[in-house]
């Protein structure tokens, strides 16, 4: 039954030069069917030139519960941003 069909997450490359972007999910019995279903479901109007399907169970995600501490290392490093540095107005191209 469809209950046993695994969930796949679908990623589409909109056109050459762009990253694959997550567009949604679907259920399919196997990888091949997932790819075909993804084509019919998410690219009916030339929305993509390449599709990835990934079984949802194989994705490792950060947990929202540890959101603050998990992303904390980047929070206090303002010196990683170009705006941290004062450069005189008369210095060009920087």
């Amino acid at each position: 039954m469809d209950k046993d069909w695994p969930l796949y997450e679908v990623f589409v490359r909109g056109k050459r030069g762009l990253n694959h972007v997550h567009v949604g999910s679907l259920r399919a019995p196997d990888d091949t069917m997932a790819l075909r279903n993804a084509r019919d479901l998410y690219t009916r109007r030339n929305e993509g030139v390449s599709i990835w399907v990934v079984p949802a169970r194989d994705i490792t995600a950060s947990s929202p519960d540890e959101k603050d501490p998990f992303f904390a290392p980047s929070g206090d490093k303002v010196y990683r941003h170009p705006t941290f540095y004062d450069i005189p107005e008369n210095v060009p191209h920087i």
Binding site: M1, D2, W5, L7, G24, L26, M33, L41, R44, P64
Partner: protein, 321 residues
């Protein structure tokens, strides 16, 4: 990339905890995402709304689907086929969004075919002539667009993203319907009468698509507070009437409402009283086609069981090799 805003002190001053974080996210017009904490009632409301919406798309394939084999030309057949395929796609985007909330897809289908979950009342009306296909595109999909455009900013991320995708496709649906009607209106007297008859039958049910009046709407206040909904039923209905009047004029049909007239003071059209008892009747299962719609969906599900089983068996065999 800007450095993160809000100092540590400012963050410390804010109320802490999951509920506060949820309220703050909604208040800032940010999206709630699947693994975020959310109130149980918010989750239940979203599942109910998304499922009902998904069911509507799936059941919505039927009234027009029956005309595919009888469409008058290859062009109209191809268009209608593409449109009905889109409805299936919309249903699947939405079931996928419902699953991010922990809903089980096969359980949702089970609820639909056992009559435990509802779908839009509009699909319980029959499509008597090919003009109905045009009027559904123009009025029914037009009303759906009115309803759905604000939902693209709904507070639940996966739902809002599905709605963006759906709205892009609905525009084709509405335009093909209007074009179909324009073609009929350029035809014979009998064809023009057919269009007017279809408009007469679909106008009032289309207005009912926006749901009960605000005073009687049980979910509106909470849904507005959670930014699931952005406008009330009556606001959207008014917007739809104002949009439709000039379109009806351009088409050369009369909207079947003697009380419909421009009100300069309000800057909107006034319109007649809707027969709410009819909406109640259709929602509670006593519309012209309720039983047929659910029976067709149930038969499709049951007749397709062997395909699902065969595909699963094939996948299991391939994996074992």
């Amino acid at each position: 990339m800007a450095p993160s805003t809000g100092t540590a002190e400012a963050r410390a001053a804010e109320p802490q905890g999951e509920a506060a974080h949820f309220e703050r996210t909604v208040a800032r017009d940010q999206r709630i995402e699947p693994r975020d904490w959310m109130p149980d009632a918010y989750r239940a409301t979203m599942v109910r709304q998304i499922a009902q919406h998904a069911h509507s798309e799936i059941i919505g394939m039927q009234p027009e689907g029956v005309w595919i084999t009888r469409a008058p030309s290859l062009r109209r057949k191809a268009i209608l086929l593409a449109k009905v395929q889109d409805e299936a796609g919309h249903g699947l985007y939405l079931y996928s969004a419902a699953e991010t909330l922990g809903a089980d897809r096969s359980e949702l289908t089970a609820k639909l075919i056992s009559g435990r979950q509802k779908y839009s009342s509009i699909f319980n009306y029959p499509t008597l002539t090919f003009a109905d296909v045009g009027v559904i595109g123009w009025l029914v999909d037009g009303a759906a667009i009115c309803n759905q455009v604000p939902l693209c900013r709904s507070s639940y991320g996966p739902y809002a993203r599905a709605m963006i995708r759906i709205c892009k496709e609905e525009s084709f649906h509405q335009r093909q319907g209007y074009e179909l009607l324009m073609t009929l209106m350029r035809g014979t007297d009998a064809q023009r009468e057919m269009v007017q008859d279809a408009v007469n039958r679909w106008w009032w049910p289309s207005l009912m698509m926006f749901g009960p009046p605000d005073a009687d709407s049980t979910h509106t206040a909470q849904s507005m507070a959670w930014k699931i909904k952005r406008h009330t039923n009556d606001e959207l209905r008014q917007r739809f009437v104002d949009m439709s009047v000039p379109q009806a004029d351009a088409l050369g049909v009369t909207l079947p409402d003697p009380d419909l007239r421009w009100n300069a003071e309000r800057g909107h059209h006034d319109f007649g009283e809707i027969d709410w008892s009819e909406l109640k009747r259709v929602i509670s299962g006593d519309g012209p086609c309720n039983a047929e719609r659910v029976a067709v969906r149930r038969a499709a599900h049951e007749d397709g069981a062997w395909v699902r089983e065969a595909a699963a068996a094939h996948a299991a065999k391939q994996e074992a090799r």
